[in-house]
Subunit: 259 residues, 2 copies
DNA sequence: CTTATGCATTGACCTCTGTCAAAGCCCGCA
DNA sequence: TGCGGGCTTTGACAGAGGTCAATGCATAAG
């Protein structure tokens, strides 16, 4: 565990520095009269979708756009909860760690997803950008107040949270009861469902091997071996470090279920 | 896996029969004018806490009380979502299974908790009584409508769902990254926090060894060995099959964190 | 109080996954 | 185009936890 732990602390340190830098360097919030929303890429999927023009302008007034680079951390596990946000673009991870540095990724969020902990004092997990990303960021207290006054927003947030909970519980079955082969197969299928493949059918994974291991509760070596096996068996094909093409989806699905 | 699987199917079958029987045998719903709520044991903790008298009467009119015996299942994974409920008394488990019968308990719910999947078509996991229990049961569609018209109720539901999600994600760290000793220690501490100990300091676990294994992603044998070790080390004492007394809480906490 | 039944414990063994260590190979950079 | 560093792969080995099987022991029925 020594090796792994050291690496963790390096990463955490690095991310923290980067994160602090970016947050400080972001221009101050300014009222932007809703013009962002009009051309917002996710406005029909995000929790603000059911707000009318006037409400959206009001919400916009309390938020601001922020850009993140891959690797930057927006929120830290255990910190007091001061920010929430909509993801406009990019992929981020939610993660927790044990005291001795073992990490578990507890969620991966995509464009239009919501992050942060509204109505609560503490952030229960860290949030880190896996790719470059853009957020629509709100101060938590202000957002809470706005949400309480807009049931349509709260309802959307509830729906989203219920869906997250379902997905998270489904992932518990994977963590507790699936073996390495089933875990890797399930993840590849899951990513294939969420990410768009290019014309060659290749998807670009937003996760490194170590991060895949952290999602699946495995080590990087086991992940590497499983992916290698799947490639040798002709079920998937690899394109560089992050590219994957699913060659035999049926067989991969069978493997995900342990057949 | 053969042995385990057979047992699973027996259990599932048995529970299903029992469950069907009880649900059919329950007297039909009748308007009860809110008199149940007045003496409800959980009315200040459940999601109905913030409703006023009139609203509570209206909610009560769409619900009914149901008693369950230990082992009975109220909802099945994958079924269409037709019921939601408040838990008045007792402990229940939420569980999912793989196609070949491996089970994972994805949640344990106690008095005042909410069960079922509002605003969704499918029940994502089964719900089974671990002890005798009493529920305040609502038809899902009717409940959904009521909730949409009562933001105070939806807000409580949101808060509860956010808390559940936090707890569930914390459990993912345990499933993915903790070893058997840490898992068992964590569970015992968690139960000790939730359940009231008698004057001798003994808590009665609502879970059998197999169910503990299903919560922790272990086998019954590993759970048994770990509990045996903790007893031999003098960290806990056992009283019958279900009784546990924590002798050295500090040491147990250390073990839960992997020290 | 005795007995039967099912849950729990214990033991022996094995396998999957983790650990440690050494190459290998992308990919950005010069 | 060549180089360097970090990520990834591969190999050898160890050990935690799973599997199979037998025994022990609460609990409830008689």
């Amino acid at each position: 565990m020594g090796r792994r732990m050291d690496m963790r602390f390096d990463l955490a340190q690095k991310a923290q520095d980067d994160g602090a830098f970016v947050m400080a360097a972001t221009p101050p919030a300014k009222g932007c009269g809703g013009q962002y929303c009009d051309r917002c890429e996710v406005r029909d999927q995000a929790i603000c979708a059911d707000l009318d023009e006037k409400q959206r302008v009001a919400l916009n007034r309390i938020g601001r756009r922020v850009s993140l680079q891959a690797g930057q951390t927006v929120m830290w596990e255990g910190d007091s909860s001061t920010l929430v946000a909509n993801v406009i673009e990019g992929t981020l991870k939610l993660s927790t760690s044990t005291g001795d540095g073992r990490e578990q990724i507890v969620g991966v969020v995509y464009a239009s997803d919501f992050i942060g902990r509204p109505f609560g004092a503490r952030t229960p997990h860290s949030v880190t950008a896996l790719t470059d990303a853009r957020l629509c960021l709100y101060p938590r207290g202000t957002f809470d107040g706005f949400a309480r006054e807009h049931p349509a927003l709260e309802h959307r947030l509830l729906q989203r949270t219920l869906d997250d909970l379902d997905r998270t519980r489904a992932w518990m079955l994977l963590l507790g009861r699936k073996n390495a082969r089933e875990k890797v197969a399930t993840l590849l299928l899951d990513m294939h469902r969420r990410l768009r493949a290019d014309r060659a059918g290749v998807i670009e994974l937003p996760l490194s091997r170590q991060q895949i291991a952290d999602v699946l509760g495995l080590t990087i070596e086991t992940v590497s071996r499983q992916i290698g096996d799947l490639k040798r068996m002709g079920v998937i094909a690899l394109a560089g470090r992050r590219g994957v093409r699913i060659v035999d989806a049926g067989r991969l699905e069978g493997m995900a279920e342990g057949e």
